[in-house]
């Protein structure tokens, strides 16, 4: 198959798991002799050239929070429109790629920052089949510039857009559809995955009396529950426990997070390790440097690759009760699910420290299941099947590339004047 992959970012330009998963699937498809081209944005840092990767899209500045916060309401509104609704420039890049590469199917990833609705609208208009990997509620985000769902845009999306979706959890589907954005066509839930070779069974698990080595990785922010983890450390110390440590890997996006450990008197137990490349982190799990992966993330976590990677090596997942990855694992069988609070986490850690929860059977079962059912080698044939099915589906439209670009130009200008007027009203109401 000839597969054109669209992604806002592509490694080594990454923010999180979305882009890393994209590269892993691209590499797997190429290994299986598919012709794959990646169309992504000009990188935010210099990147080495790769023959199969074209960095021609323009990414709207939607991830630089500090710069966005310093910008005026009007500038932000125009960025939001270009980021979520439509960028005629990017539609032109897409139609050029469709003309030159002639894909059988387009494989969509995260389209925020690219004027994603315009790209999907273009594919619909010209009848190009697509499959959309949903590692987050991207269609809903695209219909919600200025963090507010536009009902008319959501209704048009629901009316016009139809294709193949691969969300990572039911939670993602619910979050999109509860907002009024319908996913029409074929929807097949597909989990995230691990890579690598299954290691020998882990022999060393935590035993009471040892130091319990807790780890977490990802964005260091309150929505990921890092503040709760620090609070749990404080509670454990208050209860007289000192034989534990918490290592935190990832960039701190919230400046209030890092000082929190010292402020709560657990600066010696909680260590912010900063960003760690994925392969190094996996190597640490493989060396069994940690016993427990804490994942007290928010309810709307779509999946969560980081705990999956850790659990593959017997590092037991302790996650909040309602998060995407929790749909795939059973509490007390493969993982520990805990109330999302500092007290809930502290109570669970305490039970482990006291030996009332044995990590070994949990770690063994989760590891076995992950290597069997959640390895990319297991999932890639299913992904291929969905791509193939989509490529053979009847075309959704018969429009031309020129028309699609013309429509994008019109839509872009209409979006700009609309957001300009909205921002103007907002400014007037504030004044």
């Amino acid at each position: 198959m000839r597969v054109l992959v669209l992604s806002n970012l592509y490694p080594p330009d990454v923010i999180g798991g979305y882009e890393l998963c994209c590269r892993q699937v691209v590499d797997a498809l190429r290994e299986r002799r598919h012709e794959v081209r990646v169309l992504t944005s000009a990188p935010r840092v210099p990147c080495p050239a790769q023959e199969h990767v074209s960095r021609s899209f323009k990414l709207t500045n939607c991830y630089d929070a500090s710069f966005i916060l310093r910008s005026s309401t009007m500038v932000r509104a125009i960025w939001e429109a270009e980021s979520n609704l439509v960028s005629a420039f990017n539609v032109h890049v897409l139609t050029t790629a469709l003309t030159n590469f002639k894909p059988d199917v387009v494989y969509l990833w995260n389209l925020v920052g690219l004027g994603g609705l315009g790209l999907v609208g273009c594919l619909q208009h010209v009848g190009m089949p697509w499959v959309w990997y949903l590692g987050d509620c991207v269609p809903r985000l695209l219909c919600s510039p200025y963090d507010e769902l536009l009902p008319t845009v959501a209704a048009e999306f629901s009316r016009q857009v139809s294709g193949h979706y691969m969300p990572v959890s039911q939670r993602v589907i619910d979050e999109i559809e509860d907002a009024g954005v319908k996913l029409n066509g074929h929807v097949e839930i597909m989990p995230n995955w691990v890579l690598g070779v299954r290691p020998a069974d882990r022999r060393r698990y935590f035993r009471p009396g040892d130091t319990l080595r807790i780890v977490s990785a990802g964005q260091m922010a309150t929505h990921k529950g890092i503040d709760l983890l620090i609070g749990a450390a404080r509670l454990l110390r208050e209860r007289g426990y000192e034989n534990f440590s918490i290592d935190l890997y990832g960039n701190a996006r919230d400046p209030k997070i890092v000082p929190l450990a010292r402020e709560q008197g657990v600066g010696d137990l909680v260590t912010f390790k900063g960003f760690c490349p994925q392969h190094e982190l996996v190597a640490r799990y493989a060396r069994h440097e940690y016993d427990l992966f804490a994942f007290p993330t928010w309810d709307r976590e779509p999946f969560g690759c980081a705990p999956l990677e850790a659990a593959a090596y017997g590092c037991v997942m302790a996650m909040s009760q309602n998060c995407g990855i929790g749909e795939w694992f059973v509490d007390g069988v493969h993982c520990l699910k805990v109330e999302r609070s500092a007290r809930g986490l502290a109570d669970m850690f305490e039970q482990v420290l006291d030996g009332r929860i044995d990590l070994e059977p949990l770690g063994r079962r989760a590891s076995a299941v992950i290597w069997r059912d959640f390895h990319l080698d297991t999932l890639i044939p299913r992904i291929e099947e969905v791509l193939s099915k989509a490529s053979q589906s009847p075309p959704s439209g018969t429009g031309t590339f020129d028309e699609a670009y013309h429509l994008a130009l019109l839509a872009e200008r209409l979006a700009q004047v609309t957001v300009e007027e909205r921002a103007g009203e907002l400014l007037a109401s504030v004044a």
Binding site: T152, E156, R159, T398, H406, L407, L414
Partner: protein
């Protein structure tokens, strides 16, 4: 027999600018002519966006619908409505009666993206946004002109039909030409001429054009 709904957009904004109802009278007369010729097969909805939403029949088969406008348009021609896409949902064909109003731009975008056929009446105005900046008239499935001289430049690019009657768009009021900074031009000046049209004849011509466009569209989709 189920009726085929034709949505009319455009020309109403001049009425709002001037306080006259020249656009509405012209479109209503046109719609009556179309209905008479179609022998009940067609219905027409006259759509516009304004501050006072309403929906009322003007005569059997013709409904006037004013959608609530979004925001505060700076000129009457910049009025759009978030409800316009939904209002076009059951239209089988969209006829845009001007190429310079926001409502027509939105109608063009929504209808084209949905693969609903579009007719656009072109009066030969120059210097207006759609034409000078983007050449978007070419997105219409059929261009309708009231004179050969207006039709000639388009013949090589798209299907064009020349219909009877003389219609002067300035009679209804048109938006400022680009790049004039004055947002509202003098609307409906007294020295402009009213349409010189036999609406029964023009209605029959339009009815036949709609039929042709719809048949061609169905064949292309099949």
């Amino acid at each position: 027999m189920p009726q085929t709904k034709i949505a009319y957009l455009g020309l109403f904004d001049g009425d709002r600018a001037s306080g006259f109802s020249r656009g509405e009278e012209h479109l209503l007369a046109l719609a009556r002519g179309v209905l008479a010729a179609s022998q009940g097969r067609l219905s027409v909805e006259l759509l516009s966006c304004g501050p006072a939403p309403e929906c009322r029949p003007l005569c059997p088969g013709v409904v006037k619908r004013v959608l609530p406008w979004a925001g505060r348009p700076r000129t009457p021609w910049e009025a759009g409505s978030w409800q316009l896409p939904a209002a076009l949902a059951d239209a089988s064909l969209v006829h845009l009666h001007d190429g310079f109003s926001r409502a027509c731009e939105i109608g063009l975008l929504v209808a084209k993206q949905r693969h609903v056929p579009i007719c656009l009446t072109e009066y030969g105005l120059v210097g207006h946004w759609l034409s000078i900046e983007l050449g978007l008239q070419a997105l219409a499935d059929m261009m309708i002109c009231h004179s050969q001289s207006v039709a000639v430049p388009w013949r090589a690019r798209m299907p064009v039909e020349v219909v009877s009657g003389r219609v002067n768009p300035h009679w209804f009021g048109v938006a400022s030409e680009w790049p004039l900074t004055a947002p509202v031009p003098p609307a409906c000046p007294d020295d402009e001429l009213p349409p010189d049209v036999d609406y029964a004849t023009l209605g029959a011509e339009l009815s036949a054009i709609y039929h042709k466009v719809l048949v061609r569209h169905r064949e292309a989709a099949a």
